[in-house]
Point group: C3
Chain length 206, copies 3
């Protein structure tokens, strides 16, 4: 059952990532093709980086080209409805947080199925959750937000740890998945609400 729910949430997640990437593209006045490309690379980039690093072929979008079309459609819809987007800012932050934890769990599962060790499972989850946004920021000429602020990678890592720890117990897989999703989502939303940050490392010498 959790497989179906995860799949639906995955569709929601790549749609939302496409739309936030399209907004980022609009801030830099990219053209329509650029908007679609940035959306596709952002939404599908995290899973692609994970699969390339793990040698896990074929990549998701090569096996399911319809996801490429979905990201492009979401990007074009964003262009069409851009004037209403700012009203949905809170909804987007919520759905982006859903995307982060869903990508994380799905990334962990790929590494688990490949029989990889626990650290790599957690790293695979984090790459899936975070690498798309890093690529988006680089293509936009920005230092990746991930490296500078917010509990984002940390939420992904902690979600992976909770998920993996839960699977060591006798709890049913569905319950563990649900618990990890809830934990990660709550942590991310609390971090957004209360503006939690990791401490910064400031080195100003020479």
């Amino acid at each position: 059952m959790s497989v179906l729910i995860l799949h639906i949430l995955y569709i929601v997640a790549i749609t939302v990532e496409s739309m936030t990437a399209a907004i980022a593209a609009g801030r830099r006045s990219m053209d329509w093709v650029g908007v679609c490309l940035l959306a596709a690379v952002t939404a599908l980039g995290g899973g692609s980086v994970r699969d390339v690093l793990l040698g896990h072929y074929p990549l998701v979008w090569v096996e399911h080209p319809e996801y490429l079309l979905l990201t492009a459609a979401a990007a074009l819809a964003t262009i069409a409805f851009a004037r209403f987007m700012h009203r949905l800012k809170r909804l987007f932050l919520l759905l982006d947080a859903v995307g982060l934890v869903v990508f994380t769990i799905l990334g962990c599962n790929i590494a688990r199925e490949m029989g990889l060790p626990p650290i790599i499972i957690i790293v695979a989850g984090m790459i899936t959750g975070c690498a798309g946004g890093v690529i988006r920021d680089i293509l936009c000429g920005e230092i990746p937000l991930l490296l500078r602020s917010e509990l984002y990678a940390s939420v992904s890592v902690l979600t992976g740890i909770i998920y993996l720890a839960g699977l060591q117990t006798a709890l049913p897989h569905d319950i563990v998945t649900f618990a990890a999703l809830t934990f990660g989502l709550t942590l991310r939303l609390l971090a957004l609400r209360f503006n939690w940050h990791m401490p910064k490392f400031v080195y100003a010498r020479d």
Copy 2:
């Protein structure tokens, strides 16, 4: 026959991409090694990204290391003859357009030989044609030109669609290849001549 012509055009294309990358390196005062590296990454990067994403090994330049030497030689020749380069600007734009469509068709063919679905064949063509320039722009600290302006990715996608549609007909493969090349090249040159652009998505809220 078209295989031989495509091969010759491929050699021309990686040479030209190397030279335009070398000019971009010269604008940023890179050193000679940097010029050669940027040339090699630009000329061979599109095919490399495609092959890595599709899991298509070995990569072209690993099987044909002479292409690496060719890109470096073209970069060094550009340094030597830099003072004459600005007179050849139109020729370069023409040959760059040839490169775009040739890379596209060759990229499509790799994906076709792997038995991949039509959307992926077209995407493989576009990645082959465009990704090298994206890597060049990122290494030069620029937002990729591809995302911002010009009919470039669009020309590649349309060339791929024409090529793939042609292969569904009873026309000989050579004729289809020639028609797709001609279509793509004409469209690109018209876009350059008449300054055609995709509409931009400008999002200036918050």
Copy 3:
């Protein structure tokens, strides 16, 4: 015997690369997670790029997840002892040079074991030695230092050539390894000491 020494030097090298990446992260006020991520990507990125391009799976850190922990630990130690780092600047430059030549030799060996041609062996060494720093600079929003100045890629290429040429002789493998390491390290330190540079290509037209 040289296998053991190379292994120890490799551990030293990824530790040092992690620490210099952490300093770069501190200059941009990244948060602690960002510091650890930048360290891991810099120290293990060169080998990862090489393995992905050559299709050499599994990647080093997937097989040895302890290296990931080592890079994160080195990054955190850098944060803790940041105030003493500037006194160790010379030591860091020395160890970074050791890292460059050790990464190069190890990268050459991977390509040799895969039976690849000489040019690719040398390129594999250079990618291993240099790509991590390129990724670090891009993530920091800088044009890669590698492209702009210093004998860095050149030292790596020359070290690879010396190493490969030595293996064609009747000399024992250990001696050849030691000679190539010494040559590369000396060349790099001389370049730092006497501020040797490659000539730059400056193109200022239009």
